[in-house]
Symmetry: C2
């Protein structure tokens, strides 16, 4: 089977100084690439990159654009999307999983090149239509189709100025007026203004707005979704009663027009209520379509998981790009040597440097694989729930487990990418501080993913809550199997390093997993006990949970996400397309990531008496450094196997040709105005009477 | 004594929601402010801030400026400096220490408001004149005076495209031509182009250039400094033979015109050699002025320490600003509550949030104090060396110890500031991602300080090398006393947690120090042994040292810097102006920082058998959380005591009035074009035939 794999669609790497390293790799990097990504995905991505590279609208401007210019560009790119024919017409006939994978692959390619555009589409088409699908009915289909065909620019208005994570405290109201058969949307004050809404600042004409529905009898029926026209699509002027504006510059992603809006008793037709879960009759009576609207709303919000999956895919690519930049630069950059006159050494040879950047290279590979695994698991479940007339109801357990996986993996991956970018920035020294290194853009654009679509610190608690339920309940509910090992909790908690190594050597795949199983059980036991003691002492559950996060629940959900990533990677390594050469480098990557993660938890292992004395820490750390050293010869080819084309990576210090200084020279000498006297030279001249030199 | 302190020059805090917290503090925040900064410094800073705030040239632009506009602004501000009369004329008559402290205070105030300008002055005046002072002679005084009086714009051209940290490999040459009595400055290729040189891109007319001096006999006399005219000061046009340009956009600090230059057999007069350490006679003979030019060059480079001190002061302020923003925001921002309908809780109440941000508040306070201590120690030594005709020679030991302190403290402080900014960014959620939060600017401008003036990972090795020498030498050479405890190495290494707590409770000041003494001795022993084993196995010293960095020398120098910071803080707390109320809050800050730092080293404590089992980690972590909780009521007032005025902090989410949402509203609604239809609206309109909604 292994020989049948077609890698010919993957472009070759150019000749250049990096080939010296490429020769050392004992595997085919294109084959490795197909371990980390599916062939279909990769074909779509290369196709999209090719189309974008050929279109001047998507070429990187040579000088920084103003925020206004960035917004204009992103809006024009968004309109252009409909004409690029990225989506084959027949795709709409395909099944949910295939269709979604296709769209996700396009997004991945798009995000690397123009992250603002990717987010604009995700918000205005993806999230909007997911929400419409979950909450709307047949009468809203025209909006769904219009968004899909890019005939309207939409946005999702949930967050308010004073409420982000806590959506339950949203204060915008929608009061039904039976006289006119309209809802009156109203913002009580600025703190309740919808805020940060992507696409709303300048361009959206329709806002899917969350507001508390009041019937004429004064009863508050809780949060509902409404389709609210905010601007005239012919003029882009706001409608009377809608005070809508742009919130101004952000740290990054300035191509997105994030906006705020205040509604002043603004009337919309009754039919604009998304009425899948509850409706209001023309006379003003509220009708629940299901008996548990809260649960249904949960299901509707669950549709945001697609957003989190997208963020994870993007973050895994961002992480990859940072690692690629760091590795390629380190392979070429030389500094210092044994003696004053001995040849200088590429910095990739220094142990310290390897330890700084290789774990991120390994993390990129492992996390790419685990995101793919998670994506497919998620999509299969959604597909199944759609086929099943009972919807999510029968799948509650699976949905809960997937939610736990997503809620911990999204923080893990976004934080790992964040740290990788920073380490790469510093590891590339001054040249890493050049805008043209692209590390600043990566950082500024990636940054919000740590706090949006669920603030990492808050979102992770969804996972620890689920794990604690599994720990404390009589029956384990882990249909996907990620928590099945909890059934062996007693045996696991009785294990320790000395006993473990007797049947499981430190460099066995199993060893890392076993360490994690102990870690998670111990943290569960500790956290659960702490909360029980607190509540039995009269502490409110809310407070008990809050006081069990630091050094408890927070470490717990992170460890759980790491274990899932490692297990997903092992699963992938055991597929039949993995040749022995590939297996060997995949194993290295597994251990570098695994030991590196364990290293960060070492204190807990000692605290919980899993180990004492120096041996455990010594071994983990020595092995990590040894594996890093072994990785050196393969690192450039591994980087190739996760790198986008130069056009998309867009880093002058990390082109595939490895011509670092030639590329820098070209960059320095050709950027606009490089050698020109500034237009303002006369304004800063020091008068000759003053300057005597 | 305590009652005589005048705090009236410190402006009061405005009324507003934060006053609820301010009322809870049991100390006078203005008195606390005078613990962290000297009265003179503070008076100068407030004066500078007042002057800058009143001058429109220094007001923050409402929209982002292009890089070109930023450069223009910084150049105009630089010229304006001479007219702001920030420096009293009589200052030049004062002693070195007083004068330098004055200039440093101005720089601190300036840096908070316009970091690019601060760096431009530091490079063009401070570093340039320091180098001239160390390497030049009487004949170069006119350049010194001209730079001081802002009559010329200068720069320091050391770094080359392919060589940053490793200055010994610089390749630019200066060949003496006895026929014309000129040096011929030449750049062999682009890799040897001077690069990243601040002020050189657009404005500098003179570059203090480092090049290898060759006499006509072909002998290479090593690196020397040359004053090289690069542009005509009347026209700002480059001279023939000088290819000088701007390197383009950076991630931040775009007000600085970083440039590159290639010299093509470019001739300068013989007198432009900085000839304090060596000279070339008109006939072309090299004359060493001292017998050990290498050592003198070291002394000259030592003058860069002033730059590192400046970076530390700036980084301590950046760290403070990040902590202030996070604390003020957390005090006002509410999210979630015990039950759906119970009042929402300010996020500063959550243990997790306290643990995320309070350690940075404590770090800001502790590190501000230690930077001040280090600054004064350094300045006293320089002053002494200037008075002493033997220069640095007699002070070698002190200079080495100060160098060890600076080389570890600069990385510690810049990294702590880096992490504080990121944590603050995330802790302020979406609003922290607004450009107007200022956290993005802080991050992008602070970023290079981790790699310039000595890359942190490389610079720190200077400290570990010094410590290892102290460990291995027969005689301890620690005149400042930072390493005196190494004399008790045996006793220290025999101590452990169980024995220590018997006479030294965990919440004693002493406990933290004793833990650190053990940590440093253990790391020294481990690292030293590792290197000895490696070299005795035939490994080259260079490699042995490189392979002893991770989990060894790197932890070592960091721990040493932390210990110095903690000791400096204790020293400050014991001064007579510290009242019991102040002492109480200072103690809290000490423990929060101390436990937090120890927490990061816990693995080493276990690995080295200082502790085993859960007790040690449990205690450190419980105490840390308990102290954080105690800090809550004081945190807003502590933030006040390290905060610059609103004008300088420049964060819409952290104004001293605490009117978070009113300030946000004002920001959203008044920024240019907030409610305007974009000028490009027609370009992005979807044709009505297409849009049916």
């Amino acid at each position: 089977m292994a020989t049948e794999i077609d890698t010919s669609f993957i472009p070759d790497m150019p000749q250049g100084p990096l080939c010296e390293y490429r020769k050392c790799a004992k595997f085919d990097w294109k084959r490795l690439r197909l371990i980390f990504e599916e062939e279909n995905t990769l074909r779509i991505k290369y196709k999209v990159w090719k189309i974008l590279e050929a279109d001047p609208l998507f070429s990187k401007p040579k000088t920084a654009l103003s925020s206004d210019e960035q917004k204009r560009l992103a809006a024009m790119q968004m309109n252009k999307m409909a004409h690029l024919n990225l989506i084959p017409p027949e795709l709409s006939q395909r099944g949910y999983l295939e269709k979604t994978m296709y769209l996700m692959s396009i997004n991945e390619a798009l995000h690397t090149v123009c992250p603002s555009l990717s987010v604009k589409i995700a918000l205005g088409v993806g999230l909007f239509n997911n929400a419409l699908h979950a909450m709307g009915t047949e009468r809203h289909k025209k909006y769904y189709d219009a968004a899909w065909n890019r005939e309207i620019v939409t946005c999702m208005a949930i967050t308010e100025v004073a409420h982000g994570s806590n959506t339950k405290s949203i204060r915008t109201t929608a009061k039904y007026d039976p006289q006119t058969k309209e809802f009156i949307i109203h913002t009580p004050d600025f703190e309740a203004a919808k805020c940060w809404i992507g696409n709303l600042g300048k361009t959206a004409t329709v806002a899917l707005t969350f507001a508390n529905l009041y019937t004429p009898d004064g009863v508050d029926h809780g949060l509902h979704g409404f389709l609210v026209p905010v601007r005239n699509p012919q003029t882009l002027q706001a409608y009377p009663g809608v005070l809508v504006g742009d919130i101004g510059d952000k740290i990054g992603l300035n191509g997105i027009d994030n906006g705020f809006v205040m509604f002043s008793n603004y009337r919309i037709p009754r039919e604009n209520l998304l009425n899948r879960t509850g409706d209001v009759t023309p006379d003003g009576a509220y009708e629940s379509v299901f008996s548990e609207p809260g649960k249904i709303l949960g299901a509707a919000l669950e549709s945001f998981s697609a957003g989190r999956i997208g963020i994870m895919q993007e973050a895994a690519n961002t992480l990859s790009n940072a690692a690629v930049i760091a590795v390629r630069y380190a392979a070429i950059r030389k500094q210092f040597g044994q003696e004053k006159n001995s040849p200088e050494i590429p910095i990739i040879n220094y142990q310290l440097h390897q330890w700084r950047i290789f774990p991120y290279l390994a993390a990129a590979c492992v996390l790419k694989v685990s995101v793919l695994e998670l994506t497919k698991t998620y999509l299969k479940i959604v597909e199944k729930s759609q086929a099943d007339s009972n919807g999510f109801e029968l799948l509650t357990q699976i949905v809960s487990e997937v939610h736990a996986l997503i809620s911990s993996s999204k923080p893990l991956i976004t934080w790992t990418a964040r740290d990788a970018i920073q380490e790469a920035r510093e590891a590339c020294g001054g040249h890493g501080y050049l805008k043209a290194s692209n590390l600043g853009e990566l950082r500024n654009n990636h940054d919000p993913s740590c706090t949006y679509e669920g603030d990492n610190n808050v979102l992770g608690q969804q996972t620890s809550n689920w794990l604690l339920r599994q720990w404390n309940n009589d029956h384990l509910e882990s249909p996907i199997g990620t928590a099945n090992f909890l059934l062996q909790r007693n045996e696991i908690l009785n294990s320790n390093f000395d006993r473990l190594v007797q049947h499981c050597p430190v460099d066995s795949i199993e060893f890392v997993i076993k360490c994690y199983e102990w870690l998670i059980c111990w943290l569960l036991n500790k956290t659960s006990t702490k909360m029980k003691v607190a509540t039995s002492n009269g502490e409110h559950r809310f407070d008990a949970r809050n006081n069990a996060q630091v050094y408890g629940a927070r470490d717990l959900w992170r460890a759980y996400a790491e274990l899932f990533a490692l297990r997903s990677f092992i699963k992938r390594c055991n597929q039949p397309d993995v040749t022995p050469e590939l297996k060997s480098v995949l194993n290295l990557l597994y251990f570098v990531y695994g030991y590196w993660c364990i290293d960060k938890h070492l204190t807990t292992f000692y605290q919980g008496n899993f180990a004492s004395g120096s041996q455990f820490a010594d071994l983990i750390r020595e092995k990590l450094l040894a594996k890093c050293s072994l990785l050196k010869d393969s690192s450039v080819s591994i980087a190739d196997s996760i790198a986008p084309p130069d056009f998309a990576l867009n880093s002058v210090i990390a082109r595939a040709d490895g011509l670092l200084y030639q590329n820098l020279q070209n960059e320095f000498m050709t950027h606009p105005g490089a050698f020109e006297r500034p237009s303002w030279w006369k304004e800063v001249l020091i008068p000759p009477t003053k300057s005597k030199l």
